[in-house]
Symmetry: C2
Subunit: 276 residues, 2 copies
């Protein structure tokens, strides 16, 4: 496994990689969710590139860019058996002082996470476009956990005619159902326990749907009541939406994306399930 820090060296190394090239962009502090993406990339490609880059442009001024958890030594050890190249550029390598071009998603980025985190998805699209141009993968792997991010990246790849396939992988969960996330480390013991309410609410939604409930409002109300029973959690949103456009739906026609954001203290967790 090669660790590369400059764009020029990454381009050079790219030319020698076995085809096809699978790519997993990450912000590091890896967990089993990331590793599942890397394993899938390993199975489906001749070589695998993983990037580790905590992208400053997707954090708001009051968000956790500086405190975002980092542990490169551990990340590299986890990747070693599965990865050909780890691309780990510095902030200034990616964004020189004169940097000033942005890839901007449209209406889809105004909803859900985008409504709460203005500019977030501009940062995501921009860094992913850059990484795609540097790594030039044939296939790129993203987790279903960040459902809006996935939809926006699919939209970007399709709109800008990027020559690669986007592959979505299922959310990996802890034994009690909590979706794996680098931010789970922020939770104290009580919050960690309370956070299982996200998956409980999503499971409730799925069960209601499977038992014939088709009204989004009814499902949302029952989910709201369930989460409000957990005093440590504060609901940011509960959404039932089209998985491609993220537009809210009233009467559910599958597939529909049920997603939610709940705060525990300062830590905001998101999760989702797709009704098929």
């Amino acid at each position: 496994m090669k660790v590369i820090e400059t764009i020029a060296e990454m381009r050079k190394a790219r030319k020698k990689l076995g085809e096809p090239v699978g790519f997993v962009p990450t912000m590091g502090y890896l967990h089993e969710g990331h590793i599942a993406l890397v394993k899938r990339a390993r199975e489906e490609n001749g070589s695998v590139v993983v990037s580790i880059f905590v992208n400053p442009t997707q954090f708001g001024p009051k968000e956790d860019f500086k405190s975002y958890p980092r542990d490169t030594g551990r990340d590299l050890a986890m990747l070693k058996p599965l990865t050909d190249i780890v691309f780990m550029p510095s902030d200034t390598e990616m964004y020189p002082v004169y940097y000033d071009t942005w890839v901007t998603p449209g209406e889809i980025a105004t909803r859900l996470e985008g409504a709460v985190r203005p500019g977030h998805f501009r940062g995501v699209d921009t860094v992913v476009a850059k990484l795609f141009n540097i790594v030039q993968p044939d296939k790129a792997y993203f987790g279903q956990k960040d459902a809006q991010q996935l939809a926006i990246i699919r939209r970007m790849v399709d709109d800008l005619n990027m020559p690669l396939a986007v592959i979505a992988c299922p959310t990996v969960r802890e034994a009690d159902g909590l979706a794996m996330s680098s931010r789970n480390v922020y939770l104290n013991r009580e919050q960690r326990k309370a956070a299982t309410v996200l998956y409980k609410a999503l499971t409730l939604a799925k069960e209601m749907w499977e038992q014939g409930e088709q009204e989004a409002g009814t499902i949302r109300r029952r989910m709201t009541a369930l989460i409000e029973g957990e005093p440590l959690g504060a609901i940011d949103y509960i959404s039932v939406a089209d998985p491609e456009t993220l537009k809210e739906v009233h009467h559910i026609k599958p597939p529909a994306l049920v997603s939610l954001a709940v705060k525990f203290g300062k830590t905001r967790l998101i999760d989702n399930v797709v009704l098929e």
Copy 2:
């Protein structure tokens, strides 16, 4: 020479082209300026792709998208001896109804043309990014005549790490100095004659610089006086700026870009010269 109208077919044909691939994006209604770009691409590459696409997203709502001159038969005849593939997509092939991702230049696009044509360079960056992803050229050729467009595309290619070289080619002029432009066809006989004032003013700037004048303000005043002597022309701007950032300069340190926009009736002409 193959004429291709779909993205899927263009991608397929791209794989069979001799390397390196040179690319000249155009809006058609070709003149000797375009042909100089294609000839240069021919000399420097194993194969040449030219696109003809009047890009709707770079025209403002009150601009000349519908009336922009078109003559595909003539364009194809001019390209035939020099070109391997002409890529000529429809509007809906490039922008399906759900289209909603934009490549947006920053501060550099707020000046000069960008100040007068809001959204113009967002349309330019977006369509050029799309065409680059579809054609995947090694080298792309642009005319120095559209100096701000050139600077913005260079900025985009550099910022987004696009894997290709941008090559600028000198402005091609009519015998009397008027820069070739598809929009020159809009001028009536009197306006056409009056339009030579642009090049006269730029030549004056160059002569003043060569004779030791270093103050942008002095040069601009003399150019203004010269153009105001032409009653058919109305000055939009006269600028002396850094060729990379387009920021106005006061005391000239070469290289400096002297550029101007002048209206003749409804027709707006631009031109420039670089002081070395």
